[in-house]
C-alpha cells in the first residue's frame, strides 16, 4: 500500500498538505461549536437574557458551522481530485507496464488476472484513498485535540476513556489478524470467477455442442460458493465492529456518569457543581475521541481489501519485462537478413529445450520455410525474431545486428508478423489493416486497398455494408476464420516490412486462395524476406530454403527437391500429403 502511495507526486503532496490545513481548521471549528452551544445554554438559563445576545452567539455558531462546511467541501473536492487522478495515473501505469511485458510475464500473470488488476483492484485502492484520506487526516487531529481538551479534568474519567480506546484497538487489531489473510484469498477467488466466465465465453460453441452447460455452471457454482463463503466470513467478522463500537460509546458515557456520581458525592460542596459541569463537557469530548477512533476503524474496514489490491498492483508495476530495449536505432546497409547462430531455447521454468542449436541465414528476398510435426518448435523459433521470447543460448540477428541490441520498435518496424491465430481489433477494416505504427506515415487508403487486394480479401471486404469502413467486432467475431486470417495478412502487407513472418498463417485458407495469395505476395514483395511456418508442403514447395524441425532439432536444410532426396522426415511429411506421382511430377 505505502509503496503505491509513494507514487504521489509533488502536486499531490501539496494537495494533501492543503487538506491537512483545511481539515485542522475544520476540526478547530467543530470543537469550537460545543463552546458556543454551552454559552447559549447558559444564556437560556439566565432569565434576563434578551433575544439579541442569543442571536449573537448563534451567529458565531453559524459562522463556525458554515466555515466547517466550506472547508469540508473544498477538502471533498480536493480529495476526489486526488483519488481519481491517482487511480487514473496508476491505471495508466499498469496498462503501459503490461504493454511492455513480454509473453513470458503475460504467461506468468495470466491475462484474466492482469485484467482484474487493471480494473477491480484499482477501484479498491481508489475507494480507500477517496474516503480514507480525509478520515486518516481528520481522525488523529480530532483525537489529539479532544484529548488535549479533557486532560487534567479527572484521572478516573481519563482512565475510563483510555480503557475504552484500548478495547477498541485490541478488537480492531484482532480482526485485522483474522481477516486480512482471508482478503487475499477473496481476490484470488474473484480472479477464479473471472477466469471461469471467460472460459465459458470463449468456449461457448464447444460447451453447447457437448451439452456441457450444466458442467460449466456447476464449475462456476463451485467457485461462486467458495467466494461467497469467504466473503461471508469476512463481513461477519467485520460486522462485529460496529455494534461493539456503539456499545462502548454508550457504556463510556454511562461509566463517566456513574463514576461522576461517586466523585461528586465524595467532593466538598464548592467543587460539586464544577465537577458536575465538567462531567457533561467531558462526555461530549470523550465521545469525540471515540468517534475519531471509529473513523480510523472505518479505514481499517476498507484497508485490508485495498491493501491486498495494492500488493497485486505493485506486483505488476514492479515486474520488469525480461525483454528490454536495446539502443541500436540507425539503419544498416544490410537489409532483410535474418540469421540464427547456434540458437537454443527453453522456457525459463522448464528443463527441456524446445529448440537446440539452430543455425541458418535468410538473405534479402529469400523465402525460408519451417516444417515439422506438431510441437517441433517451429512457432517458437519464429517467435524469437520479434523477441516475444529471447533465445536462451546463441544469437538471433536481423540485418546483421543482434535482435537484443535493437530498440524494439525499430526491430518491429522491419517485421511483418502474422500470428497463428489471427487477431482483430474492434474498429473498421481500415483501422485493422493499417493497425500500429511502422515508423512511417499511416498507410493511405490506396495502400490499404492494395494490401487487402494482395491478401485476397478484396472480394469480401467490398461486399461488406460499409466496405473499408465496416466495423469488425471485438475479437473479429463477425468475420470467418479465413477472412480474419486474410485481414491479418493484409495488415502485415500494409506495413511494407523488410521481413515477413508467417506463423502458420495460411491454415484457415483453402488451397486456391492460399496459392493465389502467395503468388500475389511474391509479385508484390520482390525484395522482402519471408519466414514461413507451414503445415502444407504445397505452401512451401517453392521456398528457397526449407528447414525441417524435429523435436527442436534441425534435421534438414535445403530445397524441396534436395530434401526429398536426403531427408527422411521431410519425405515422410511430403508423402503423407501428396501422392508419389504428384511428387514426381515436380
Amino acid at each position: 500500500m505505502f509503496k503505491l502511495l509513494k507514487k504521489f507526486n509533488r502536486k499531490d503532496v501539496l494537495i494533501i498538505l492543503i487538506c491537512v490545513v483545511l481539515i485542522s481548521f475544520q476540526v478547530w471549528l467543530d470543537l469550537k461549536l460545543p463552546d458556543y452551544m454551552s454559552k447559549i445554554t447558559t444564556l437560556l438559563q439566565q432569565s434576563d437574557t434578551g433575544i439579541n445576545s442569543i442571536l449573537e452567539q448563534g451567529g458565531y455558531m453559524l459562522l463556525c458551522a458554515g466555515g466547517s462546511l466550506l472547508s469540508a467541501i473544498v477538502v471533498g473536492y480536493l480529495a476526489s481530485l486526488l483519488s481519481s487522478t491517482f487511480s487514473k495515473n496508476i491505471r495508466k501505469k499498469i496498462f503501459e507496464k503490461v504493454q511492455s511485458f513480454s509473453m513470458e510475464e503475460i504467461k506468468k500473470f495470466t491475462t484474466s488476472s492482469l485484467i482484474t488488476r487493471t480494473t477491480n483492484d484499482i477501484t479498491n485502492v481508489e475507494m480507500l484513498i477517496s474516503m480514507g484520506l480525509q478520515l486518516l487526516i481528520k481522525a488523529p487531529i480530532t483525537a489529539v485535540w479532544a484529548i488535549f481538551k479533557i486532560l487534567n479534568k479527572s484521572w478516573q474519567w481519563s482512565a475510563i476513556t483510555g480503557v475504552a480506546v484500548l478495547i477498541l484497538l485490541t478488537m480492531v487489531v484482532m480482526l485485522m489478524i483474522v481477516v486480512i489473510p482471508k482478503f487475499k484469498i477473496v481476490q484470488k477467488l474473484i480472479d477464479n470467477i473471472n477466469g471461469l466466465t471467460r472460459e465459458n465465453l470463449l468456449g461457448i460453441r464447444v460447451i453447447r455442442a457437448f451439452n456441457a452447460e450444466k458442467y460449466q455452471e456447476n464449475k462456476f457454482e463451485e467457485g461462486n460458493i467458495k467466494l461467497t463463503k469467504t466473503q461471508l466470513f469476512n463481513q461477519s467478522m467485520m460486522g462485529i465492529m460496529q455494534p461493539v463500537m456503539y456499545l462502548i460509546m454508550n457504556c463510556i458515557t454511562l461509566a463517566i456518569y456513574f463514576v461522576g456520581a461517586y466523585l461528586i458525592n465524595a467532593a466538598g460542596f464548592p467543587d460539586k457543581i464544577s465537577i458536575f459541569s465538567d462531567m457533561v463537557v467531558f462526555t461530549s469530548y470523550a465521545m469525540q475521541v471515540i468517534m475519531s477512533f471509529l473513523m480510523l476503524a472505518m479505514i481499517f474496514i476498507m484497508y485490508p481489501r485495498a491493501s491486498v489490491s495494492a500488493d497485486r498492483i505493485n506486483e505488476v508495476i514492479e515486474t520488469f519485462s525480461t525483454i528490454n530495449d536495446g539502443d541500436v536505432e540507425e539503419e544498416n546497409y544490410i537489409k532483410g537478413e535474418v540469421e540464427f547462430r547456434n540458437v537454443s531455447f527453453r522456457y525459463p521454468d522448464s528443463e527441456e529445450y524446445v529448440l537446440k542449436d539452430i543455425s541458418f541465414v535468410a538473405r534479402e528476398g529469400e523465402t525460408v520455410a519451417f516444417i515439422g510435426s506438431t510441437g517441433s518448435g517451429k512457432s517458437t523459433l519464429i517467435n524469437l525474431v520479434p523477441r516475444f521470447y529471447d533465445a536462451t543460448e546463441g544469437e538471433v540477428l536481423v540485418d546483421g545486428v543482434n535482435v537484443k541490441d535493437y530498440k524494439l520498435n525499430i526491430l518491429h518496424n522491419k517485421l511483418g508478423y502474422v500470428p497463428q491465430k489471427a487477431v482483430m481489433f474492434n474498429g473498421s477494416v481500415k483501422y485493422n489493416v493499417s493497425y500500429g505504427d511502422n515508423g512511417k506515415e499511416k498507410a493511405s487508403l490506396d495502400k490499404i486497398k492494395e494490401a487487402v487486394r494482395v491478401a485476397q480479401a478484396k472480394d469480401f471486404v467490398e461486399k461488406m455494408s460499409n466496405t473499408y469502413d465496416s466495423n469488425i467486432a471485438r475479437g473479429g467475431t463477425n468475420v470467418s476464420g479465413g477472412q480474419k486470417q486474410r485481414l491479418a495478412i493484409a495488415r502485415a502487407i500494409a506495413k511494407d516490412p523488410e521481413i515477413y513472418i508467417f506463423d502458420d498463417s495460411f491454415s484457415a485458407l483453402d488451397y486456391k486462395t492460399d496459392y493465389i495469395l502467395r503468388n500475389e505476395l511474391k509479385k508484390y514483395t520482390k525484395n522482402a524476406t519471408c519466414l514461413i511456418v507451414a503445415q502444407r508442403i504445397g505452401t512451401i514447395i517453392n521456398a528457397d530454403k526449407i528447414i525441417v524441425l524435429d523435436h527442436g532439432n534441425c534435421v534438414g536444410i535445403g530445397t524441396h527437391k534436395e530434401l526429398l532426396k536426403k531427408c527422411s522426415i521431410y519425405k515422410e511429411i511430403a508423402y503423407s500429403q501428396l501422392s508419389k506421382e504428384e511428387l514426381e511430377n515436380e
Partner: protein
C-alpha cells in the same frame, strides 16, 4: 458495441448501435432490485424488525440517561440516591447490550442476504451466458460481460449490506424522534423539521446529480474494461506492430472519461456528509432561538429546550445516515441496472414444449437439408437455397473457398442459429421439433479453435461425461497419437493445462479430438479440425477418424483436400450454394471448380 473513435472521419453513417448515455431510471432499478430480492424477503423483514427494535432502544437510551443526570443534579445538594443510580445503570447496560446484540444479528442477516444475493446474481449470469443465442456474442464484448460478473455484482454485494440495515434503523430513529418532538411541543417540532427540510432538499438535488455520474461511471468503466481485455489478449500483435502508442492513446481517452465521471460522482457524494452536519447545527440553532422566544413568553420551560436539543440531534443524525445509505443504494442501483439488463436479455427459444426426442442409440443417421436459407443478418443471406440428402453412414465433405458458408452449415446443423426458411431433418424429424440439447447430444463436434479449459488433461478429455475410466482416456489419446506426449508431462493425466501454456496448437487440437472421441454420438462434425495439426500427425488422426466415422454419418469441413479424398460425397460450396457434388474421382473428371481447387495446391 460500436466504436468510431478510431477514425478521423466525424461520424459513422451506418446504423451501428450507440450507447445511450442518458442517466437511467433509479426508481425502476430499485423496483427491480426488490423484485429480484423476492426470495430473501422473509430474512430481510426479520433483519429490518431487529433494526427497528435496536433503534427504538437507542431512542429510550438518552431519555434514561437524562433521568440519571437529573438524579445526580438533584443530589448535588441533598446527596445522591445511589440506589436509583445503580438501578438505572443496570437497566441501561442491559439495554445497550440487547441493542448491540440485535444490531449484530441484523448485520449478520443482511450480510448473508447481500452475499447470497450476489452469489445468486453471479450464478444467474453464468447460466444466462449459456442461454443466450450465439448472435448475442457477435455483438457484445466479453470484457463487458466480465465486468458485470465481477465489478457490478461486487458493487451490489458490498453496498447492499451496508445500506439496507442502516437505512431502516435511521428511518426508525427519524420517525421516532418526530413523534417524540410533536408529543413535546408542536411549534418547536415544526421549527426543527423545517430547518432540517432544507437539508433534505440539498440532499436530493445532490443525490440525483451524483446518480447520473455513478451510472456513467459504470458504463465508462465497462468500455475501458473492453479495451483493456482486447489489448491484453492480443498482446503479441500489439507488440509486433508497435501498436502500443495507439492503444495507449485510446486507453487515455477512455481513462479520461472514467476519471471525469469518477471525480464528479465522488465529489458530489462526498458532499452529503458535511452538508448534513451543517444542517444539524443549523436546526440546533433554530430550536434554541425559537425556544428562547417561547421561554421568554413563558410558553415552555427550559427543560423542553434541552429535550429538543437531543431530539434535533436524533432527528438530523439519521438524515446523515440516510444520505449515506442512499449513496450506497444508488451505486447498488446503478450496478444492478447493468446486471439485470444482462439477465433480462432475450434468451433462445424455450423448448419446454418439445416432447419429441431422438435417442442416440436408435438414430439411423439420415439427414436432409431441404431448401435451407439463412443469413446472420436479415440483410445478407449467406446460405441461399441449400438442398442435400445424406444417407446413414456416409462421409460428407464440404469444401469451398473461405466464406462460402461451410462453417455456417455446421452452425445450422447444430441449431446454434435458427434457419430463416426451409428445414433440416434428422431421420425425418425436423430439428425445429427437437430440443437443442437433443440435437447436440447426437453430434460429436470438433472445431478449429482449440478450446481447452484450465484444469487437468483428464478433466479436459472426459469433460462432462461421467464414468470415464483412465484406460478409456488413454485409449483415446493413443488413437489420436498424443499418449506419449501426455505421459511425458510431469503428472501425466493430472497435468494442469493453463491459459498460456507452451503446449502447441496442434497438440491442443489433438486433445480436443480425443475429447470428441470420448463422447460417443451417431453424427460427427469436423470443422477444419485438422488444420492446425501437422500433416504427419494428421495422418494418424485421419486413421483414427476413419475408425470413428465407421457407422457414423459424418460431416467434414476441410481445406486440405487430401483429407477428404475418400469421402462418399463431396459438396463443393461457393457463395452459399452447392455448385458441384460427387466423389473425388467424379469431380476430378468433371474438371470443374473442384478440380481447379485441388490442382491449385500443387501449382508453382
Amino acid at each position: 458495441m460500436s466504436n468510431d473513435e478510431y477514425k478521423s472521419k466525424p461520424r459513422n453513417h451506418g446504423p451501428g448501435p450507440r450507447i445511450a448515455e442518458k442517466p437511467k431510471d433509479l426508481k425502476n432499478a430499485i423496483k427491480k432490485l426488490i423484485l429480484y430480492l423476492d426470495k430473501f424477503k422473509p430474512l430481510i423483514v426479520i433483519a429490518l424488525i431487529l433494526a427497528v427494535v435496536s433503534s427504538i432502544l437507542s431512542i429510550i437510551g438518552p431519555n434514561k440517561l437524562s433521568d440519571l443526570t437529573d438524579i445526580i443534579k438533584e443530589g448535588l445538594i441533598t446527596g445522591i440516591n445511589f440506589e436509583k443510580v445503580k438501578s438505572i445503570s443496570v437497566f441501561l447496560v442491559t439495554l445497550y447490550l440487547v441493542s448491540a446484540i440485535f444490531n449484530y444479528i441484523q448485520t449478520l442477516i443482511m450480510t448473508n442476504v447481500a452475499n447470497n444475493f450476489a452469489k445468486n446474481l453471479r450464478s444467474r449470469i453464468s447460466i444466462k451466458i449459456n442461454r443466450l443465442p450465439l448472435k448475442y456474442f457477435d455483438n457484445n464484448s466479453y470484457g463487458d460481460i466480465l465486468s458485470r460478473v465481477t465489478n457490478d455484482v461486487d458493487t451490489i454485494g458490498v453496498t447492499m449490506h451496508q445500506s439496507l440495515g442502516s437505512l431502516v434503523s435511521a428511518i426508525t430513529l427519524f420517525l421516532g424522534s418526530i413523534i417524540m418532538m410533536f408529543a413535546t411541543n408542536w411549534i418547536m417540532a415544526i421549527t426543527g423539521i423545517v430547518a432540517s427540510t432544507i437539508g433534505f432538499v440539498f440532499m436530493f438535488i445532490i443525490l440525483a446529480k451524483s446518480q447520473k455520474y455513478f451510472t456513467l461511471r459504470q458504463i465508462e468503466l465497462g468500455k475501458l474494461n473492453g479495451h483493456i481485455e482486447e489489448i491484453y489478449t492480443n498482446h503479441n500483435v500489439v507488440k509486433a506492430y508497435n501498436g502500443e502508442e495507439e492503444s495507449l492513446e485510446k486507453f487515455d481517452k477512455l481513462n479520461e472519461k472514467v476519471y471525469e465521471c469518477n471525480r464528479k460522482s465522488q465529489f458530489l457524494s462526498g458532499m452529503m456528509q458535511p452538508i448534513m452536519s451543517f444542517v444539524g447545527n443549523f436546526s440546533y440553532l433554530a430550536v434554541c432561538v425559537v425556544g428562547a422566544i417561547l421561554v421568554m413568553n413563558n410558553e415552555i420551560s427550559f427543560g423542553v429546550i434541552v429535550a429538543f436539543m437531543i431530539y434535533v440531534r436524533l432527528f438530523t443524525n439519521p438524515l446523515t445516515q440516510i444520505a449515506q445509505a442512499m449513496t450506497n443504494l444508488q451505486s447498488t442501483a446503478a450496478a444492478s441496472e447493468r446486471v439485470f439488463e444482462f439477465i433480462e436479455e432475450k434468451e433462445m427459444d424455450d423448448e419446454k414444449n418439445i416432447k419429441k426426442r431422438l435417442h442416440k442409440s436408435k438414430v439411423k443417421g439420415n439427414i436432409v437439408f431441404d431448401h435451407v436459407k439463412f443469413g446472420y443478418n436479415n440483410d445478407r443471406v449467406i446460405i441461399q437455397d441449400f438442398c442435400c440428402n445424406v444417407k446413414p453412414g456416409e462421409k460428407i465433405a464440404i469444401v469451398g473457398p473461405t466464406g462460402a458458408g461451410k462453417t455456417t452449415m455446421v452452425n445450422l446443423l447444430m441449431k446454434f442459429y435458427e434457419i430463416n426458411s426451409g428445414d433440416i431433418t434428422i431421420d425425418g424429424e425436423s430439428i425445429r421439433e427437437l430440443s437443442r440439447e437433443n440435437v447436440h447430444d447426437l453430434f460429436i463436434m470438433v472445431l478449429q479453435d482449440t478450446w481447452l479449459f484450465e484444469g487437468t488433461i483428464r478433466d479436459n478429455i472426459k469433460y462432462n461425461k461421467e464414468n470415464v475410466t483412465d484406460e478409456e482416456i488413454m485409449q483415446a489419446l493413443e488413437v489420436v497419437g498424443v499418449d506419449h506426449f501426455v505421459k511425458s508431462l510431469p503428472k501425466g493425466l493430472d497435468y494442469v493445462l493453463t491459459d498460456n501454456d507452451s503446449i502447441s496448437a496442434g497438440q491442443k487440437q489433438l486433445l480436443t479430438i480425443a475429447r470428441g472421441m470420448i463422447k460417443d454420438a451417431p453424427f460427427l462434425i469436423l470443422d477444419e479440425a485438422t488444420s492446425s495439426v501437422d500433416t504427419r500427425t494428421e495422418e494418424l488422426v485421419q486413421k483414427a477418424m476413419d475408425k470413428l466415422t465407421e457407422g457414423r454419418t459424418s460431416f467434414i469441413i476441410a481445406h486440405r483436400l487430401s483429407t477428404i479424398k475418400n469421402a462418399d460425397l463431396i459438396l463443393v460450396m461457393k457463395d452459399g450454394n452447392i455448385i458441384e457434388q460427387g466423389n473425388h474421382k467424379e469431380l476430378m473428371n468433371k474438371n470443374g471448380f473442384y478440380a481447379e481447387l485441388y490442382n491449385s495446391q500443387f501449382k508453382k
